[in-house]
């Protein structure tokens, strides 16, 4: 089936999402949505094998609960794209707001620019499901807050010094955060610790770096020949003594 094109100008998100679902139900493999401005919940809960292109600024909770589709945004995102996403992919050719990849369970979120506060808050993993949040620019505070699993990478391609915001991995009890450059100890949140980023780590993560770079047409070489900081949980129960008595 051919590409389905939707003009979202002035449209509420409910009819917009109905059109998207109809297109997927009738077998569309490609959907282009133009003039998007602030419509929330686009592609929420959507399943299937479809590529969605969004031209404009989608509203909050883009691709929430989504499983399968690949969604490319030519513009910035508001809060929480990839909220509790199950599988599939979001590629943002811009920046995104707070709580990106909130509670994400699987799939990938790539952001070319920066993200706001609490990126990857409570991301989690289970067996083969391992979500990834990859950031080309930088992140504000509380990155990976209460993180329970998955991978967050921050390439800091526009910022010098690299990472400036505090509370990284506050309450982290699973998963890993990898940040380009040195990260000052005072920026680590409660329950997070730095460990050495080894050659094995680089080897393991190079396919991720290469895939990210190919999506945005970036030369991967500077991201391969550089140093990273790896941040992991200091324990699986950072607040064991805080709320319970044994």
């Amino acid at each position: 089936m051919e590409k389905v094109v939707i003009d979202a100008k002035g449209m509420h998100y409910t009819p917009l999402n109905k059109q998207v679902r109809q297109a997927v139900a009738s077998g569309a493999k490609e959907i282009e949505i133009n003039n998007v401005l602030g419509q929330r919940f686009i592609a929420d809960g959507l399943r299937g094998d479809v590529k969605i292109t969004i031209n404009g600024i989608p509203g909050g909770d883009l691709c929430m609960f989504m499983n399968g589709p690949e969604c490319t945004v030519y513009g910035n995102c508001e809060h929480a794209p990839g909220n509790t996403m199950d599988g599939g992919m979001i590629v943002v050719h811009g920046s995104a707001g707070d709580a990106v990849a909130h509670s994400m369970r699987g799939g990938k979120v790539y952001v070319r620019g920066n993200i706001g506060y609490r990126g990857g808050i409570h991301m989690k993993e289970y067996e083969s499901k391992k979500p990834m949040l990859i950031i080309g620019g930088t992140s504000h505070a509380f990155l990976g807050e209460y993180m329970a699993g998955g991978l967050i990478m921050v390439f800091c391609m526009a910022e010098e010094p690299f990472m400036q915001d505090r509370g990284i991995g506050s309450g982290i009890h699973g998963g890993e955060i990898v940040i380009r450059g040195e990260v000052a100890d005072r920026l680590l949140g409660v329950g997070a610790k730095k460990v050495e980023f080894t050659e094995t780590d680089l080897k393991r993560l190079s396919p991720v770096i290469e895939d990210f770079c190919s999506r945005f047409n970036i030369d991967p070489a500077p991201l391969m020949n550089t140093n990273y900081t790896r941040i992991v949980p200091s324990s699986s129960r950072p607040f064991a003594g805080k709320y319970t008595w044994e």
């Binding site: 509203g59 909050g60 508001e78 920046s95 505070a141 509380f142």
Partner: protein, 350 residues
């Protein structure tokens, strides 16, 4: 959850209210139809030096007689009229919005460096706490608040805000969570030149309320945001702090951040935290405050509410969502998200 947006034209070019109505309506998901409001500066060029008192009356008999008597005792009513409103099917008219253009007799207030402001402030507190059926919800010079319990577009059409031209506009779409939705509880909150729109909750309300009450203010709106207007009046007008310093007092840096500052800065921040301990605000918030001289936006220190900033020439926009700015101004530039507690300031340049 609420939606806020503010815009200033730093060269004081007038903008009518149609743009901000569109922007606020775009964020309808952030409200519940129980409160919306707008404030604009520079809208009363025919009365450029009168206090514009906007009052909600329950009826025009007893409460209005009492207010008229009180105002005439302390000053001169230059002009008064019902604020023009236009019936909307989705909005129930619960009060009669009225406006006075007023000049207080400053000779009647002694021992004050700003006697007219102090007189008007006292009158507002008196009317709102003592005269049943009357509520002054706007009391600055050449500016005015327009608000009601309803959706943004209904409130805008009720007052026809497109008929007003201001160089600063703030707007708010309310989703009341722990206090009732009513006309007086809609934002913006105003006292004298200060207007406030706020998304979030002030969990330090008890402490802040005590602080403003001990400074002669009375909280009468049944909601937390009004203390922000009074805090700005105390710190900004009466203590003469610049707006970035007011923000530093209300949303100060953490102690460990202060410890790392160079000595001079550390001393200032230390003193500010100690002096204004009871003015410091806790809880999640994104706030925009306006005066006739400019706007300032800031969030709580751990950024529990969104705030986006954009610019286009003389115009500076502060909003909960980027899309709301873009629908007002498709050519907006430099979209960014300020850090928590960082004041974003737009001042008039002429």
């Amino acid at each position: 959850m609420c939606g806020i947006i503010g815009v200033i034209d730093r060269a004081r070019s007038g903008m009518d209210g149609s743009g901000i109505k569109k922007a606020l309506s775009l964020m309808n998901e952030r409200g519940s139809g129980e409160g919306a409001g707008y404030v604009a500066y520079g809208i009363y060029p025919d009365f450029p030096d009168c206090y514009a008192l906007h009052v909600f009356y329950d009826n025009l008999v007893e409460p209005k007689k009492k207010v008229d008597d009180l105002l005439e005792k302390w000053g001169r009513i230059v002009h008064q009229e019902e604020i023009p409103t236009y019936e909307q099917p989705g909005l129930k008219k619960q009060h009669i919005p009225w406006r006075y253009f007023y000049k207080p007799h400053k000779d009647l207030k002694v021992g004050s460096s700003s006697p007219e402001d102090d007189l008007v402030k006292t009158l507002v507190m008196d009317i709102n706490s003592r005269i049943e059926g009357a509520l002054v919800f706007s009391s600055g010079i050449n500016m005015g608040v327009f608000k009601a319990a309803g959706w943004p577009e209904d409130v805008a059409d009720f007052y026809r805000i497109q008929d007003y031209k201001g160089y600063i506009w703030l707007a708010h779409n309310r989703y009341p969570t722990n206090t009732p939705g009513w006309w007086g509880g809609a934002h913006p909150f105003n006292l004298l030149d200060w207007s406030v729109v706020h998304n979030g909750e002030i969990t330090s309300y008890g402490t802040n309320k005590q602080y403003v009450e001990s400074n002669g203010y009375k909280c009468t709106m049944f909601t937390d945001t009004e203390v922000v207007a009074y805090l700005f009046d105390i710190l900004g007008r009466r203590h003469g702090l610049a707006s970035d310093m007011v923000v530093k007092a209300l949303a100060p840096p953490f102690w460990d951040e202060i410890d790392e500052m160079p000595e001079r800065e550390r001393k200032i921040n230390h003193a500010m935290r100690l002096t204004y301990r009871s003015a410091q605000m806790n809880g999640p918030f994104a706030i925009v405050v306006a005066t006739s001289q400019g706007i300032v936006g800031f969030t709580d220190r751990i950024k529990l509410r969104p705030m986006v900033v954009g610019e286009n020439g003389d115009k500076l926009y502060i909003s909960s969502e980027e899309a709301a700015i873009r629908i007002m101004d498709p050519n907006v530039q430099n979209i960014r998200m300020p850090r928590a507690g960082e004041p974003v300031i737009g001042r008039v340049i002429v």
